[in-house]
Protein backbone atom coordinates (compact mmCIF):
# COMPACT_ATOMS: atom_id res chain seq x y z
CA UNK A 1 0.00 0.00 0.00
CA UNK A 2 2.88 2.36 0.74
CA UNK A 3 4.27 1.73 -2.74
CA UNK A 4 0.94 2.63 -4.35
CA UNK A 5 0.69 5.74 -2.18
CA UNK A 6 4.13 6.84 -3.33
CA UNK A 7 3.20 6.29 -6.97
CA UNK A 8 0.04 8.38 -6.60
CA UNK A 9 1.96 11.20 -4.90
CA UNK A 10 4.55 11.15 -7.70
CA UNK A 11 1.71 11.60 -10.14
CA UNK A 12 -0.08 14.48 -8.46
CA UNK A 13 -2.62 12.76 -6.20
CA UNK A 14 -2.40 13.69 -2.49
CA UNK A 15 -2.83 10.66 -0.24
CA UNK A 16 -3.18 9.83 3.42
CA UNK A 17 -2.38 6.34 4.70
CA UNK A 18 -4.27 5.09 7.78
CA UNK A 19 -2.10 2.38 9.26
CA UNK A 20 -1.42 0.21 12.28
CA UNK A 21 2.02 -1.02 11.18
CA UNK A 22 3.76 2.29 11.61
CA UNK A 23 7.31 0.99 11.28
CA UNK A 24 6.64 -0.74 7.94
CA UNK A 25 5.03 2.35 6.43
CA UNK A 26 7.79 4.65 7.73
CA UNK A 27 10.48 2.26 6.49
CA UNK A 28 9.05 2.61 2.99
CA UNK A 29 8.28 6.31 3.37
CA UNK A 30 4.97 7.93 2.48
CA UNK A 31 3.74 11.51 2.28
CA UNK A 32 1.25 11.35 5.18
CA UNK A 33 0.36 8.65 7.66
CA UNK A 34 -2.20 8.60 10.43
CA UNK A 35 -1.02 5.92 12.85
CA UNK A 36 -3.54 4.10 15.01
CA UNK A 37 -1.70 2.07 17.63
CA UNK A 38 -4.08 -0.85 17.17
CA UNK A 39 -3.77 -4.50 16.16
CA UNK A 40 -3.30 -5.29 12.48
CA UNK A 41 -6.78 -5.39 10.99
CA UNK A 42 -8.15 -2.30 12.73
CA UNK A 43 -6.27 0.67 11.22
CA UNK A 44 -9.38 2.89 11.08
CA UNK A 45 -10.70 2.46 14.63
CA UNK A 46 -12.02 -0.30 16.83
CA UNK A 47 -14.66 -2.56 15.29
CA UNK A 48 -18.18 -1.25 15.99
CA UNK A 49 -16.88 1.96 17.60
CA UNK A 50 -18.53 4.30 15.11
CA UNK A 51 -17.65 7.51 16.95
CA UNK A 52 -13.98 6.57 17.09
CA UNK A 53 -13.91 5.57 13.42
CA UNK A 54 -15.46 8.95 12.61
CA UNK A 55 -12.80 10.73 14.67
CA UNK A 56 -10.05 8.69 12.97
CA UNK A 57 -11.21 9.67 9.50
CA UNK A 58 -11.43 13.30 10.59
CA UNK A 59 -7.81 13.12 11.82
CA UNK A 60 -6.81 11.71 8.44
CA UNK A 61 -8.58 14.60 6.71
CA UNK A 62 -6.85 17.11 8.98
CA UNK A 63 -3.51 15.56 8.11
CA UNK A 64 -4.27 16.13 4.42
CA UNK A 65 -5.01 19.75 5.23
CA UNK A 66 -2.03 20.46 7.45
CA UNK A 67 0.95 18.36 6.30
CA UNK A 68 3.55 20.48 4.54
CA UNK A 69 6.28 17.91 4.01
CA UNK A 70 6.59 14.21 3.20
CA UNK A 71 6.98 11.65 6.01
CA UNK A 72 4.44 13.49 8.13
CA UNK A 73 3.14 11.01 10.71
CA UNK A 74 0.30 11.85 13.08
CA UNK A 75 -0.53 9.65 16.04
CA UNK A 76 -4.21 9.11 16.80
CA UNK A 77 -4.85 9.57 20.54
CA UNK A 78 -6.84 6.35 20.91
CA UNK A 79 -6.18 3.51 23.34
CA UNK A 80 -7.20 -0.05 22.50
CA UNK A 81 -10.10 -0.78 24.83
CA UNK A 82 -8.97 -4.27 25.79
CA UNK A 83 -5.53 -3.15 26.95
CA UNK A 84 -2.09 -3.47 25.39
CA UNK A 85 -1.39 -7.14 25.99
CA UNK A 86 -1.68 -7.87 22.27
CA UNK A 87 1.50 -5.93 21.56
CA UNK A 88 3.72 -8.39 23.40
CA UNK A 89 1.90 -11.41 22.01
CA UNK A 90 1.62 -10.63 18.30
CA UNK A 91 3.94 -12.80 16.17
CA UNK A 92 4.83 -15.18 18.99
CA UNK A 93 4.46 -18.93 19.39
CA UNK A 94 1.60 -18.26 21.79
CA UNK A 95 -0.34 -16.56 19.01
CA UNK A 96 0.67 -18.11 15.70
CA UNK A 97 0.11 -15.66 12.87
CA UNK A 98 -1.37 -18.34 10.66
CA UNK A 99 -2.44 -21.86 11.50
CA UNK A 100 -4.73 -24.56 10.21
CA UNK A 101 -6.70 -23.53 7.12
CA UNK A 102 -5.22 -20.02 7.10
CA UNK A 103 -1.74 -21.48 6.89
CA UNK A 104 -2.73 -23.91 4.13
CA UNK A 105 -4.30 -21.08 2.16
CA UNK A 106 -1.15 -18.99 2.57
CA UNK A 107 1.09 -21.85 1.46
CA UNK A 108 -1.17 -22.52 -1.53
CA UNK A 109 -0.96 -18.88 -2.66
CA UNK A 110 2.76 -18.88 -2.11
CA UNK A 111 3.17 -21.93 -4.37
CA UNK A 112 0.90 -20.38 -6.98
CA UNK A 113 3.01 -17.24 -6.89
CA UNK A 114 6.14 -19.30 -7.47
CA UNK A 115 4.61 -21.11 -10.43
CA UNK A 116 3.28 -17.89 -11.97
CA UNK A 117 6.71 -16.34 -11.51
CA UNK A 118 8.33 -19.31 -13.22
CA UNK A 119 5.93 -18.81 -16.14
CA UNK A 120 6.80 -15.11 -16.27
CA UNK A 121 3.25 -14.04 -15.39
CA UNK A 122 4.15 -11.92 -12.39
Amino acid sequence: MSLVSRYLEENGVPTVVMAAARDIVEHCGVARMLHLDFPLGSPCGEPFNVAQQRDALELAFQLLETAEDPRTTAEAPFVWSEGEEWKALVFTEARPWKSGEDEQDWLRKKELYKSLKAEGKV
Binding site: Y7, P43, L57, T92
Partner: protein, 171 residues
Amino acid sequence: MAEGRKTMTYVRYIDKTREYYRSQGYEKPYQWAHFDDVPFTPLAKPLAECRVALVSTGEVEVRGADLSEDENQMGNVGGVYSIPSDTPEDRLFSASHSYDKHATTLEDVNAFFPSARLHEAVASGRIAGLTDRFIGVYNAYSQRRTMERDAPEVLKRLREDGADIAVMVPV
Protein backbone atom coordinates in the same frame (compact mmCIF):
# COMPACT_ATOMS: atom_id res chain seq x y z
CA MET B 1 6.88 5.80 34.76
CA ALA B 2 9.44 4.13 32.53
CA GLU B 3 7.29 1.01 32.50
CA GLY B 4 4.26 3.08 31.55
CA ARG B 5 6.10 4.65 28.68
CA LYS B 6 7.37 1.29 27.53
CA THR B 7 3.87 -0.15 27.29
CA MET B 8 2.89 2.79 25.09
CA THR B 9 5.48 1.87 22.49
CA TYR B 10 4.16 0.72 19.14
CA VAL B 11 5.02 -2.69 17.74
CA ARG B 12 8.08 -2.94 15.50
CA TYR B 13 6.71 -5.38 12.96
CA ILE B 14 9.81 -5.55 10.81
CA ASP B 15 11.87 -6.86 13.75
CA LYS B 16 9.05 -8.97 15.16
CA THR B 17 8.23 -10.75 11.92
CA ARG B 18 11.89 -11.36 11.16
CA GLU B 19 12.30 -13.13 14.52
CA TYR B 20 9.01 -14.97 14.15
CA TYR B 21 9.65 -16.34 10.69
CA ARG B 22 13.20 -17.30 11.62
CA SER B 23 11.75 -19.35 14.50
CA GLN B 24 9.41 -20.95 11.95
CA GLY B 25 12.35 -22.07 9.86
CA TYR B 26 12.38 -19.31 7.24
CA GLU B 27 15.98 -18.14 7.11
CA LYS B 28 15.74 -15.45 4.45
CA PRO B 29 14.09 -12.35 5.91
CA TYR B 30 11.56 -10.44 3.84
CA GLN B 31 13.05 -7.27 2.38
CA TRP B 32 10.59 -4.52 3.20
CA ALA B 33 10.53 -1.71 0.68
CA HIS B 34 12.70 1.25 1.62
CA PHE B 35 13.34 4.59 -0.06
CA ASP B 36 15.33 7.66 0.90
CA ASP B 37 13.17 10.10 -1.05
CA VAL B 38 9.46 10.47 -0.50
CA PRO B 39 7.21 12.15 -3.09
CA PHE B 40 4.68 14.70 -1.85
CA THR B 41 1.77 16.42 -3.57
CA PRO B 42 0.22 19.31 -1.59
CA LEU B 43 -3.54 19.47 -1.25
CA ALA B 44 -4.62 21.80 -4.06
CA LYS B 45 -8.10 22.79 -2.93
CA PRO B 46 -10.36 22.66 0.12
CA LEU B 47 -11.48 19.20 1.17
CA ALA B 48 -15.08 20.33 0.79
CA GLU B 49 -14.37 20.51 -2.94
CA CYS B 50 -12.53 17.20 -3.15
CA ARG B 51 -13.75 13.92 -4.57
CA VAL B 52 -12.25 11.12 -2.49
CA ALA B 53 -11.16 7.62 -3.48
CA LEU B 54 -10.69 4.78 -1.01
CA VAL B 55 -7.86 2.35 -1.77
CA SER B 56 -7.51 -0.80 0.31
CA THR B 57 -5.40 -3.93 0.58
CA GLY B 58 -7.98 -5.44 2.94
CA GLU B 59 -9.17 -8.01 0.37
CA VAL B 60 -12.64 -6.45 0.59
CA GLU B 61 -15.38 -8.25 -1.34
CA VAL B 62 -19.08 -7.75 -2.01
CA ARG B 63 -21.48 -10.52 -0.99
CA GLY B 64 -23.07 -12.10 -4.02
CA ALA B 65 -20.77 -10.38 -6.53
CA ASP B 66 -17.62 -11.53 -8.28
CA LEU B 67 -15.26 -8.56 -8.40
CA SER B 68 -12.21 -10.40 -9.66
CA GLU B 69 -10.82 -9.21 -12.98
CA ASP B 70 -8.14 -11.85 -13.38
CA GLU B 71 -8.19 -15.44 -12.18
CA ASN B 72 -4.68 -15.08 -10.82
CA GLN B 73 -5.20 -11.96 -8.74
CA MET B 74 -5.06 -12.65 -5.03
CA GLY B 75 -3.04 -12.01 -1.92
CA ASN B 76 0.71 -12.65 -2.42
CA VAL B 77 0.33 -12.43 -6.23
CA GLY B 78 -1.09 -8.93 -6.70
CA GLY B 79 -3.87 -7.42 -8.80
CA VAL B 80 -6.31 -4.50 -8.84
CA TYR B 81 -10.12 -4.56 -8.79
CA SER B 82 -12.97 -2.13 -8.21
CA ILE B 83 -15.65 -2.05 -5.51
CA PRO B 84 -18.73 0.08 -6.28
CA SER B 85 -18.60 2.87 -3.70
CA ASP B 86 -22.38 2.82 -3.22
CA THR B 87 -22.32 -0.79 -2.01
CA PRO B 88 -24.32 -0.98 1.25
CA GLU B 89 -21.92 -1.69 4.09
CA ASP B 90 -23.75 -4.86 5.11
CA ARG B 91 -22.76 -6.40 1.77
CA LEU B 92 -19.05 -5.67 2.25
CA PHE B 93 -16.80 -8.22 3.90
CA SER B 94 -13.22 -9.48 3.95
CA ALA B 95 -11.98 -13.05 4.17
CA SER B 96 -8.38 -11.88 4.60
CA HIS B 97 -6.14 -13.82 6.97
CA SER B 98 -3.63 -10.99 7.19
CA TYR B 99 -4.70 -9.49 10.49
CA ASP B 100 -4.24 -10.16 14.19
CA LYS B 101 -7.10 -12.61 14.65
CA HIS B 102 -6.18 -13.10 18.31
CA ALA B 103 -6.67 -9.42 19.10
CA THR B 104 -9.35 -8.12 16.75
CA THR B 105 -11.94 -9.04 14.13
CA LEU B 106 -12.79 -8.08 10.55
CA GLU B 107 -16.52 -8.32 11.28
CA ASP B 108 -16.93 -4.54 11.06
CA VAL B 109 -15.59 -3.46 7.66
CA ASN B 110 -15.45 0.16 8.76
CA ALA B 111 -12.57 -0.65 11.07
CA PHE B 112 -10.38 -1.26 7.99
CA PHE B 113 -12.45 -0.02 5.04
CA PRO B 114 -14.16 3.20 6.20
CA SER B 115 -16.86 3.22 3.54
CA ALA B 116 -19.77 4.22 5.77
CA ARG B 117 -17.64 6.88 7.49
CA LEU B 118 -16.73 8.36 4.08
CA HIS B 119 -20.38 8.48 3.05
CA GLU B 120 -21.10 10.35 6.29
CA ALA B 121 -18.33 12.82 5.44
CA VAL B 122 -20.03 13.50 2.12
CA ALA B 123 -23.41 13.93 3.81
CA SER B 124 -21.95 16.43 6.27
CA GLY B 125 -20.19 18.39 3.53
CA ARG B 126 -16.69 17.69 4.85
CA ILE B 127 -15.77 16.31 1.41
CA ALA B 128 -17.47 16.91 -1.93
CA GLY B 129 -18.04 13.33 -2.94
CA LEU B 130 -16.64 9.88 -3.54
CA THR B 131 -15.38 8.21 -6.66
CA ASP B 132 -17.84 5.74 -8.20
CA ARG B 133 -15.29 3.01 -7.61
CA PHE B 134 -13.31 2.20 -4.52
CA ILE B 135 -10.15 0.30 -5.32
CA GLY B 136 -8.88 -3.01 -4.00
CA VAL B 137 -5.22 -3.93 -4.39
CA TYR B 138 -3.84 -7.33 -3.50
CA ASN B 139 -0.53 -7.45 -1.75
CA ALA B 140 2.25 -8.97 -3.82
CA TYR B 141 5.55 -10.56 -2.95
CA SER B 142 6.93 -8.80 -5.98
CA GLN B 143 7.41 -5.10 -5.28
CA ARG B 144 8.11 -4.72 -8.99
CA ARG B 145 4.66 -6.11 -9.77
CA THR B 146 3.11 -3.50 -7.45
CA MET B 147 5.18 -0.63 -8.87
CA GLU B 148 4.98 -1.48 -12.56
CA ARG B 149 1.50 -2.94 -12.93
CA ASP B 150 -0.77 -2.39 -9.98
CA ALA B 151 0.10 1.19 -8.93
CA PRO B 152 -0.32 2.57 -12.49
CA GLU B 153 -3.66 0.77 -12.75
CA VAL B 154 -4.83 2.40 -9.50
CA LEU B 155 -3.79 5.83 -10.82
CA LYS B 156 -5.63 5.20 -14.09
CA ARG B 157 -8.89 4.36 -12.31
CA LEU B 158 -8.57 7.32 -9.94
CA ARG B 159 -8.09 9.67 -12.89
CA GLU B 160 -11.01 8.15 -14.80
CA ASP B 161 -13.20 8.70 -11.73
CA GLY B 162 -12.01 12.25 -11.07
CA ALA B 163 -10.40 11.53 -7.71
CA ASP B 164 -8.77 14.56 -6.07
CA ILE B 165 -7.32 12.67 -3.11
CA ALA B 166 -6.99 9.08 -1.91
CA VAL B 167 -7.50 7.59 1.54
CA MET B 168 -5.32 4.48 1.62
CA VAL B 169 -5.69 1.66 4.09
CA PRO B 170 -3.41 -1.34 4.45
CA VAL B 171 -5.09 -4.00 6.56
